[in-house]
Subunit: 187 residues, 10 copies
């Protein structure tokens, strides 16, 4: 089933952020833009570079009114320990959700059932809790958080300017297209 | 269900390429790398810019041993007509598949059922017919084909160098990570 | 199941008419007579001659209070493009419905499931939305719109003159039969 | 379900032809072209004019290698009686099938269940027993057998000339269309 | 299941009587005694002699307050034609029901499914619509309407004289038996 | 379901005949004609007159090659006792079957379930075990065994003279009808 | 399932007692003690001696406030006939129930299904309709009604003296046991 | 369901006899006559007197070739303890089966489900493992083992003398009845 | 399913304690701490030593506000007898529940179905009826009641000091751990 | 269902031991004794003290031929990290299994479904893979590994000395009980 355009399913989970444990539910993702970034496991290889890369964009994303959540099937205890012991992870300021029940990973169709681990999926969710963009890579292929920022901007632009669309390779400030009957079959 | 890591499902469809009609099945996607790029409809707005952008990368992708397929739920007749009449589309040299039975769009979980149109999904498939990367954007948000090239390279690198992984923001030639027990918890 | 005598099933679709896009539902077919003409695909062979032939009768049908709808599983975008680029189709003034969800084609039992295309079916529907006549030909066999006009007249005559019937080969103005007990077994 | 393109379903029935009773099964319809003409009931109003009209074309149809069958849910006894007593029906030379079990009428989707009578449906069936054309009219609207002859000729032409199609209003001898890629989008 | 003692099931059908068409339902059989006489088909062999024989008793049955209905799976149109053309049937004054939907024949368990024809069953039904006597013969064995009259009289006597029974071979006016405990085991 | 034309269902029961107990199964009814006569209960009112009446015809029926069986849901012990103590029943020479399991009464659809007693049904069965005639009367209405003899003769005549039928009121020696196409619609 | 301790199931049946027919239901067994004695069939071998033996105890049982019912699957008509003709049975004054529907025999789990006859079961039922004692013997083994009387007395004693029990071989007047904790493990 | 005439169901259990533990299965009951005597619980009130009474008849029953089994839902350990500590039970020489799984008590339909205890049922089983007699008493009503001996003798007599039956109150040596047709209705 | 943390299921049973019989239900276990100790059978080997050992801790457990229940599938009668006859068991003062219906043993998942006996399971239940600790040993392995006391103390400590936990080998008075975020990953 | 006495269910998982990652399946647990120790989560409170306590007994258990496995729903990566960073855990030499798929925790009925964490369960498994002892504590109550050693010894003694049992509080070297009939009811 296509997840794009659907509202996120209910979940309740414990998370770690800046030295505190907190509970996060699907309701927390409503009312502002969210980026949810799944990765397989704490204390593994590609993951810290991806998460660190995401941290580098966190301020930018915050400025865009976006909250960022990382999710793995580890517990929030493990998230804290990783944060304590890893230099890269120790810099992370966004919310790290623990999903040991596998619920959230199943909700977003990224669970690798035979491993009990999430695939590397990134989701952009609008303030209505509706998924607007999905990117999932097989193990081994890293993601680029700077592209994510562009995509968030495009999604926000489309939401704020109903009736316009962002063409391929669109970047903030570039001209958009205003769909009209005259354009049909003309581009 | 997670599509990453699964083999593509069977399909049979008519396609258009460089002035010819041809039949394409899931078997044609085996034996080399493939990019499958879904879009909603011929003769619409964002689509031609995305497809044109993809054409710009076609030579590069061919050099990487990748075949490119675009798919919409239009017929191959309409693909030909679009190709005949649109300057942007007329440049396209890759294979344009018609999916009026909606089968392929359903196989890749990108069908918007109430519209009968595909969402903007891009899939990288390895020579075994196994999906390695997925990107899907809501209507209005364009894709950037140059990023796709990088992702293909990363996927190929991982396949050709078992035991290494591409960290975040990896680009061709950059150093990769060789997972080893010593690295666990050390990055 | 016999479609004759049944009310048309619900649908909602986008259509193209004289340079405009419009939404059409089954409700739009109520209150006046309708002709619904299915054909396999835009930009194909027999189809334009049939649709052009239908256009030739459009004024006559309008005079009879009949609206005309053509339907294929293409989108309304493609209908517009075809209209823009084909001399024959460019003349069409009636409503061209896009059925990419295949719903209408299934409703009228004309969908060729393995192709995702409609068979060449023509339906006459009365102002109550009830199907009064059906004609379906296999691929390759064209239809003759002038015969359709005669059939519409006969259907209207029967509706307006309850208690009379049109014998074989009846044409407008010819005498009809008034069924009576005396006629039973006498013709 | 679309009947066009499907093989006729099995049946076994008694029939009347030229003073004799005979058994007819679906197998009898194989090996030559057939026209099957349903009508509601013997000794009724429109029916005899339609059946008489069909008789007028019987010689022509026979010359085209077509056998003709009329079917109602009456018995073959009643068919004989009607033939004996009606001047119009007395001229009929083709095969009149009795369908009191309602099986054939159900097979061809023309049974009006609440009446136990067949609707006015005409079917052209090719030598493989596959339905090529259907025409069904609501009660009161007569059929024109001369149009049927044209349609049979078109069906035979298409079968005998694979790769050509008959455009709208085609009549025997008129030029046909040879579908080719070049024609796509050009008519 | 035993039909004796059960109320007749609902039906609605067209019938022919003395030059008129009329609608008959199960409700019409309530309030007076009825005889319902099934036979296979109009224009066949034994049937007319049986139906003629029944007509000979019609006046007597009317005097007993009994209405008579014949039923076959033919239409009422065919009944009229048979009445018009057969000397024997032309004399019939009782109601001839057409059962082309096979409903009534199924209701009374007399339908020969593979033929679509009714077996030769005769039913006596009391003013409550409850079946009091059944007689069914295989094809070829005729019925004797005079015996039917006797049976009707016995059924009426039993209904009008609760507590008495008609012994074997009882005829009107003969003495009946009054069941009493003393008679148990004494006859 | 119509019993006429169906083979009798399997049963096994104890019976009484002329001072002896014997086992009877459905197989015993094969190879010769049979009359099976159900009645409600031994030691009751109408029953003995009916059974006595049947005995009066027993010799005639035997001459016709017919075996006679009476059946009630009493045991064979009770049949013997009734035979011992009733003058009327004491004359009976045919086979009296006990059906305390209610099996045979259910097989012939004559069981009154709420009473555990059989209705007054008479069946004529041919040497193949196929039911040829049924007569069932409500409680209180007696049967006439002499009519039964006529019906048996008619049934035997039809079996022995395939292609002829006995018209209404036929008695032995009377002329029968030879169905032919010429007779259709002529009687 | 254990019948002891359960209330008897509903039934309605005709019975014979001292020259009269009467209706008996399960409700008639409430409010006083009952003995229900099943046997296979009237006019058979062991049965009359058992029933006669039971009659010998009838006065005693009546004095104890017990009503006695015999039950077979014969009808009440047959019970009357047996009573009329058998010297032994003619003495019986208790109620003889007819169970031709097999309902009561099934209720008490004594029906031999393949014979349609009851096994030789005797039941003692208390004034609440609850079964207190069961005895069933295979065919051929007779029962002894005098033992039944003792058992009834014990059942009544236990009901009237809650907290006392009758040891093995207890007879009226003998000392009973008063269960107390001290007796546990002491007898 | 009637247990009389059915073979005992499979079971496997531990038992106690004369200072030893042994396994007993349903197979052990084949090949000789058996008496199976259920009682609620060890160390209770009526039970020991019944079991002691049964022991008094044990020698007699052994002489008749009968093995005796007592069964309660206690364990064989508890049987041994009861045997050790109770004077009455200490005399018992027959086999005391433990049925803590409740299997045997359920097999013989004597389990009081809400208590987990067996009702006071006694069964006589022939050498084929087929149940010939059942006696079950509600709690508080004792059994008399001497009557059991008589019943065993009757059962054995019937088995050894096929064709004879034991009338009511029969005791060993008394004359039996030889069922014959002449006796039907004569006793 | 995990029993820890679930409320005990409903049961009702008879028990023995200090010379009295009493009824115990699941409700009796609410409002105070309980220890429920299952064992296979009275009068067996390991069991008495375990039960005696438990008695030695009974006073201590009582002081801790804990009631103790032993459970086997024996009856309460057998419990009394064992208490009367065994020196070890005779000392027991806690409540000995009889579970002949096997209900409680099934509720606590300790029933060995093929034996009808409970496994050696010990359960600590808090005043809300919620199971806090489980220990089950295979046959032959004894339990140590003194460890049980420690475990009860730990369970009580945790309940009374929310927010503290007892580390491994904790004994009363030893320091506990106060979980805090700082401790995560620090022990 | 009782786990004691059942064979462990299949699983496959990654584990960490002494600086290495290894795969462990249920088959690895066969052929020697095993202790499987579940705990909720790495980097939490009671857990390290329990696991450290278990490590103290590891040498002793190894000497007894026992392999030790700890299991949590964390990954083996997290196990390594915990081992790297925790002084207590860093001493652990036994096998630490990661169960992120929750399979093993479900197999042993210790999964707290709403948390995705295992309860504190310890299992002793014999060389046939059959569970011999279970101990599960609610969160907060620690376990004592020294008791575990005693229980293992008892289990091994029972296995090696069939026919002997270990009484309560048994420790190695203490005398055991040899179950014999004489002992029944004597302890």
């Amino acid at each position: 089933m296509l997840l794009i355009g659907t509202e996120i399913l209910p979940f309740k989970a414990m998370a770690f952020q800046k030295g505190e444990f907190l509970e996060v539910t699907n309701e927390n993702l409503k009312g502002k833009w969210s980026v949810v970034c799944f990765y397989p496991a704490d204390f593994t290889f590609v993951c810290p570079t991806e998460l660190e890369d995401l941290q580098h964009q966190y301020a930018t994303l915050k400025d865009l009114g976006v909250e960022v959540y990382s999710v793995s099937t580890d517990t929030h205890f493990t998230h804290k320990a990783w944060h304590d012991h890893s230099e890269a992870i120790g810099k992370i300021e966004y919310i790290m959700i623990g999903d040991p029940t596998l619920t959230i990973s199943r909700n977003f169709n990224v669970l690798v059932e035979e491993d009990g681990l999430a695939a590397r999926g990134t989701f952009i969710i609008d303030p209505d809790g509706v998924i607007q963009a999905v990117e999932i890579n097989a193990g081994g292929i890293g993601r680029d958080a700077s592209i994510l920022v562009n995509k968030v901007k495009a999604a926000q632009y489309v939401r704020n300017n109903p009736g316009e669309v962002c063409p391929a390779k669109w970047e903030e400030g570039a001209s958009t297209l205003k769909p009209s009957l005259d354009l049909v079959g003309k581009i």
